[in-house]
């Protein structure tokens, strides 16, 4: 399926569905090493994003992602609002003006999104953040030869990165206050990022 306005809408609806379904899981992960609000905040933010998507005609996939970005920035708060807001803003900017986004355009958008997240949050790989899911996913996607392959590579890379956060000591965000005690917990931000990839594969594949 091509990446266009309608499939991007389906992707965002799917992601909102994942955030609602996994709200308690994300709250539980965040309670262990953070402040326990990640699931609640992402669910609230994506519900707000769907309201805005329903409320106005979107020009293209880029516009869809930008609308989601602004909804998250203005409704989520915490660290997730600016970070996911920046991710979608950068991705939307990279896709803007294209009726159909091809493989190169899709992968480039993810690279831009990752750069935006790192600029905003100053996190490096290994800091136990969403960057740990994004980096292997984007790198794997950049090796793909077609869109379906990129979608699969994104899910596999993000999953690998998410699971690899378990033994890490957090160096960014509230989890960093725990020091060594942040070990043996999966990072909630990397987990929500993984669901962004599974929902992309669901909505955009085939």
């Amino acid at each position: 399926m091509p990446v266009n306005r309608d499939t991007a809408l389906a992707w965002m609806r799917g992601f909102a569905g994942e955030m609602a379904e996994h709200r308690q899981e994300l709250v539980r992960l965040d309670t262990a090493i953070g402040d326990g609000d990640h699931g609640t905040n992402m669910d609230r933010g994506m519900r707000k994003a769907l309201e805005r998507l329903d409320g106005a005609e979107q020009a293209d996939a880029g516009a869809v992602l930008k609308t989601v970005a602004m909804a998250l920035v203005s409704s989520v708060g915490g660290a997730a609002g600016p970070l996911y807001g920046t991710l979608f803003l950068q991705m939307g900017g990279a896709m803007a003006g294209q009726e159909e986004v091809d493989l190169a355009g899709y992968v480039t958008a993810w690279r831009k999104g990752l750069e935006g997240v790192q600029m905003r949050g100053k996190a490096e790989p290994g800091d136990k953040t969403m960057v740990d899911a994004l980096v292997p996913a984007v790198e794997a996607m950049e090796q793909a030869s077609d869109l379906d392959g990129a979608l699969r590579a994104g899910v596999e890379g993000a999953e690998r990165g998410m699971l690899a956060t378990v033994p890490l000591v957090a160096r960014k965000g509230r989890a960093s206050y725990l020091g060594e005690r942040s070990k043996d917990h999966q990072d909630p931000g990397a987990t929500s990022t993984y669901y962004l990839y599974t929902s992309a594969a669901e909505a955009l594949a085939g």
Binding site: S74, G78, R174
Partner: protein
């Protein structure tokens, strides 16, 4: 979970309705985006002071809006930073032509959201400066953490900078004074019990029946260590010693001593703690010029307290004593 709420999703909005009902004569409440602002804002020629943060720490920050302290406060969801649109609307609402100072506690979310808000404000032609508070000695300050948390010093800084802004000092001067207060302030907290956020309905951490957590954060972030509870004199010593050693405070220093309740501890215990703190400070040769005792930066219904010391200079003392008229702090009016 038993709480006096109508529903977990409406806690902040519903509480703002109460603030408006109680203080509508001197505060104005905006609901979307959410912020509380002085009724007479913007005050022409005065630096505007905007702070904000997650809710659940009342009276901070909304209770400190008024003459002599903040011009506006942006409440986020419980324990969640407010958003850039709230902060930038509040910034515009208080800009009286002398610029706006953002007072930001050092938490990842607060810093990122205020950064975005400052970018938005500057884009609209408002001069914006930021002061960061990071006074919690319980946290190791290193490149490998998010840095020290902003806690009790925030309240004192908002009062002192508020006095300076009311005195029509410039944005650069108020910001510099704020940085000096933060640089000379240190805090540490402790918990007897966890708290329960309305959204999660679960205690933020587990603590044994006879255990205390020393170095707790205001969102239930873990502290330095846990131990079996001892007498108040021992608990006070566990906090005062690391605070004094950290700055370090030296014999002869003049200080402002602040014993703050976490929300669920009665004043009788806070005054009892203050007696222990005052004795310890005397032992260190510190001269307590002023004190503040009560629930000012809380953590919902958590039981416990925090101690903050600021090494005072004449300017800080003058602006601490200046009149203030807010729901949470009021004197000299």
């Amino acid at each position: 979970m038993k709480k006096l709420i109508n529903g977990p999703d409406a806690v902040v909005q519903d509480a703002l309705r109460g603030v408006e009902a109680a203080h509508g004569d001197r505060l104005r409440v905006s609901y979307d985006p959410a912020y509380v602002v002085r009724a007479d804002a913007p005050v022409q020629g005065k630096v505007g002071l905007v702070s904000g943060g997650g809710s659940g720490h009342e009276p901070m920050h909304g209770g400190f809006v008024g003459p002599g302290m903040l011009d506006a406060a942006c409440p986020g969801e419980v324990f969640t930073s407010p958003t850039p649109d709230q902060m930038s609307e509040a910034t515009k609402a208080v800009d009286g032509g002398a610029g706006v100072l953002h007072i930001v506690k050092n938490y990842t979310g607060d810093v990122m959201n205020f950064d975005m808000a400052a970018e938005l404000g500057r884009g609209e032609g408002v001069e914006v400066e930021s002061v960061l508070t990071n006074d919690d000695v319980a946290v190791e300050d290193s490149l490998y953490t998010a840095g020290r948390r902003g806690v009790g010093v925030t309240v004192l800084l908002e009062k002192i900078c508020g006095g300076a802004a009311e005195d029509r000092r410039s944005l650069a001067e108020v910001a510099e004074l704020g940085r000096r207060v933060n640089a000379n302030g240190r805090s540490m907290g402790m918990a007897l019990t966890p708290c329960i956020t309305p959204a999660s309905g679960e205690p933020s951490f587990e603590l044994g029946e006879n255990e205390v957590e020393i170095g707790i954060g205001i969102h239930g972030e873990p502290g330095r260590f846990r131990e079996e509870i001892g007498p108040a004199s021992q608990v006070a010593e566990r906090m005062v010693t690391p605070i004094v050693e950290d700055l370090p405070f030296s014999s002869g220093d003049r200080v402002l001593a602040f014993v703050n309740g976490m929300g669920g501890t009665p004043l009788i215990e806070l005054y009892l703690m203050y007696a222990e703190v005052a004795k310890l400070l005397e032992g260190h040769g510190l001269q307590v010029e002023r004190n503040l005792i009560g629930n000012y930066i809380t953590s919902l219904e958590m039981q416990g307290c925090s101690i903050t010391l600021v090494k005072l200079d004449d300017e800080m003392l003058r602006y601490w004593d200046a009149p203030v008229n807010t729901p949470g702090l009021r004197w000299g009016v």
